[in-house]
């Protein structure tokens, strides 16, 4: 087997793999709710109502050609004219794709090629075009190729593998999607933007050393307030220190494992923090029976308290008759406005008429 023949033989599985990969990625994007008719790649050149059918047609064509390339590669099925038709179709597909990308680059320079769905969001560049041209040439090279047989020797197999690897490297260099994929693999969302449910924060707090130390001051397993700012969630429990009403404020850093926890014990009457000495003196050796022996029940109570500001719709949902969407919205709206008014009154920002 000459090197040229090896190169031609490698193109069949390579083209099939590229087509199947592109089809799968496109299908995943197309079938995602709300994204199907948003348009990706050359489909954005068409009216919105045609984008979804076009994207699905592209997927079907790519899948059909990939399967056709695989099935007609050997001598058992479809050797001869069927194989030539499939390979010619593949060549035409990449030729049309190249032309469409050139058109896309001129009319919508901001749009990605959409070749591999969500991974292909980078604007069409010379690399993208070169890859499409390379694949068209690869498809052209398969025309007239004899049926593929298993390699006769280990040397021939090695030769094929080397050719395949070299071509994969070339395609990788020409693919902006590789960089995008690597970025996504290593991407970690900043904690300020990461959504972490409040119940998970409370659960993490209950496992913390700070909780074990200060839970003795807590008089109720249900937090009186829970809110979040940036990377911190604040959980406030009512309690008592040396007979005075207190609030134990836990600030929990929003990370999944072993979050940092800061604590303050505040006098409920004055709003001033207790001195560490007073807190130490008021901390019992064992946790008080504030429901702490039942973590799961506490978590449920905590979750209910977290839903406190929206307690009305939650309560309504628990009644036998299901509330209408309008009543839930109305209840939420009323509660929200009441909270805002109280907030502003307390901050002295609003004087009621």
């Amino acid at each position: 087997m000459t090197v040229l023949e090896a190169i031609r033989e490698v193109q069949i599985p390579l083209l099939a793999a590229m087509l199947l990969g592109g089809c799968t990625a496109k299908l995943a994007r197309t079938l995602r709710p709300g994204a199907g008719d948003k348009g990706a790649g050359p489909t954005v050149l068409f009216p919105m109502r045609m984008r979804l059918p076009l994207a699905l047609t592209m997927c079907a064509v790519e899948a059909g050609l990939a399967l056709g390339l695989i099935l007609t590669a050997g001598s058992r099925i479809g050797a001869g004219a069927p194989a030539t038709c499939v390979r010619l179709g593949t060549f035409l597909l990449f030729l049309v794709a190249t032309s469409a990308l050139i058109e896309l680059r001129q009319t919508r320079p901001d749009a990605g090629c959409g070749c591999f769905g969500d991974f292909s969001t980078a604007p069409v560049s010379g690399r993208t075009l070169a890859r499409s041209v390379l694949l068209a040439i690869a498809a052209l090279a398969t025309l007239g190729l004899r049926p593929i047989e298993p390699p006769a020797s280990a040397g021939a197999a090695l030769e094929l593998i080397i050719v395949l690897c070299v071509e994969l490297v070339v395609i990788g260099i020409l693919s902006p999607e590789v960089g995008e994929g690597l970025i996504r693999l290593g991407y970690s969302e900043p904690c300020e933007l990461r959504y972490i449910p409040a119940a998970r924060t409370v659960a993490a707090l209950r496992r913390s050393k700070a909780w074990r130390r200060y839970s003795g001051l807590v008089s109720s397993g249900t937090p009186s307030d829970v809110w979040r700012e940036l990377c911190w969630r604040y959980v406030v429990y009512p309690g008592s220190v040396q007979g005075r009403r207190a609030e134990i404020v836990f600030a929990v850093f929003l990370q999944h494992r072993r979050p940092a926890v800061h604590v303050a014990v505040v006098d409920a009457a004055t709003g001033l923090p207790f001195s560490p000495g007073a807190v130490e003196a008021g901390t019992p050796a064992q946790p008080s029976p504030g429901g702490m022996s039942q973590p799961s029940a506490d978590l449920a109570a905590a979750s209910a308290a977290i839903a406190g500001p929206r307690a009305q719709p939650t309560a309504a949902q628990s009644t036998p008759t299901a509330p209408t969407a309008a009543s839930v919205v109305q209840a939420a709206r009323t509660a929200h406005l009441a909270r805002v008014r109280d907030l502003l009154l307390s901050m002295n920002l609003y004087a009621a008429p």
Partner: protein, 379 residues
């Protein structure tokens, strides 16, 4: 009667935002009284947050299970803003706002009132009014609902009047000729916008697709429940509201200050004169009424905050700033990936949806719709 006291300008109240305990003390309330209900607890959050992160001399290290190392704060930890408090704006620096019905107006005096009560304001020689267009204050009509900007130097001196101004921002539900029905969010009633015939061309330059599903933001004159649309407040995003572009991936930590566009909204159910800001990214776990009603996710990523969080909002065009509490969620504002071009082009879309009073206090002109702003979180 003006619907709020003339003295509740932005920074002269915000300057006391070091905690509601102080505000409560002024009102004769104890902190215990203030935590009587969950709503008051929202206002108490700043006190409790300050208690957690306030530096304590001789503090037992065990107060924090993971003390800060080398003096560096954790990502997202509230900044020590003591130096910022020291440079708070002069209370007499920013204009204040009053709302009311025009009882009488002359070139020199404006009388606002409601029922038997009325309040008089002296107009400065260069005072201007807006009622669909710039005009002399004397040209305003009796019965117009006015938003009046008072000068910082005088409590009864006005230099700017907006009459019957309104704004509708949302998603078009229906269109029938020149009339639009606009969805402003799940917790607000749909709004009817009737495009003024002579303004249709101007509006369509900025909003070429006035079709259901597309976003619209129009300023005009309010007549009862309708808005006569006259001015496009921004340029229409090219996408329908249901097909928002994917938000970009953000790496590293979000900066404390974010620049973008600050807009304003009509009070609707809120009391007029509220000094607050609707923020586009309230924590979904805190029960934002809009989020509960199934609001759409936004196209931009903003750090999560809660009701009662305080932002420092700076008008980049006038270089004025003040602290403003978060009083609502801006679920419609987060759909807009537009830019404010009042002074240069804002680097991103809407970062704050201010109440009218806050917008005016920060030097915004209502008919312009927005100003370039920088918000600082954790102030």
């Amino acid at each position: 009667m003006p619907s709020g006291p003339a003295g509740y300008a932005c920074c002269d109240r915000c300057a006391t935002l070091t905690g509601p305990a102080e505000a409560g003390a002024r009102q004769g309330l104890t902190a215990g009284d203030m935590v009587a209900g969950p709503s008051a607890a929202v206002a108490r959050r700043r006190v409790l947050k300050a208690a957690v992160f306030a530096p304590r001399s001789g503090q037992d290290a065990s107060w924090s299970t993971r003390p800060q190392q080398n003096g560096h704060r954790q990502p997202g930890e509230p900044a020590d803003t003591s130096h910022e408090r020291a440079t708070f704006a002069d209370p007499g620096r920013l204009p204040r706002t009053v709302f009311g019905i025009i009882q009488d107006v002359s070139p020199h005096v404006l009388v606002l009132g409601e029922g038997p009560r009325e309040q008089r304001f002296t107009l400065t020689p260069n005072a201007v009014a807006w009622r669909g267009a710039q005009l002399e204050p004397a040209a305003l009509h009796q019965g117009d609902r006015a938003v009046v900007r008072l000068t910082p130097s005088g409590r009864q001196v006005a230099d700017r009047i907006w009459a019957n101004i309104g704004r509708v921002t949302g998603v078009i539900l229906e269109r029938s000729g020149g009339t639009l029905v606009v969805d402003e969010g799940a917790t607000r009633a749909p709004q009817v916008v009737r495009l003024q015939p002579r303004s249709v061309g101007r509006i369509q330059v900025r909003f070429p697709t006035l079709e259901p599903g597309y976003l619209v933001d129009i300023i005009g004159l309010r007549t009862g429940t309708e808005l006569i649309g006259m001015i496009p407040a921004t340029s229409q995003p090219g996408y329908p509201a249901g097909r928002l572009p994917e938000p970009p991936l953000i790496s590293g930590h979000v900066p404390d200050s974010i620049s973008g566009s600050a807009t304003w909204h009509e009070p609707r159910d809120e009391p007029p004169g509220v000094l607050g800001v609707a923020y586009p990214a309230l924590d979904p776990g805190t029960g934002c009424a809009e989020d509960m009603a199934g609001a759409r996710p936004g196209s931009s990523r903003m750090p999560y905050l809660a009701l009662g969080s305080v932002l420092r909002v700076r008008n980049d065009c006038t270089d004025t700033d003040c602290l403003v509490p978060v009083t609502g969620c801006a679920t419609i504002a987060r759909l807009f990936n537009d830019r404010c071009v009042t002074c240069g082009t804002s680097p991103r879309g809407r970062v704050a949806d201010l109440t009218m009073a806050s917008f005016i206090a920060l030097g915004g002109e209502l008919e312009r719709g927005c100003f370039n702003a920088t918000i600082t979180i954790g102030a």
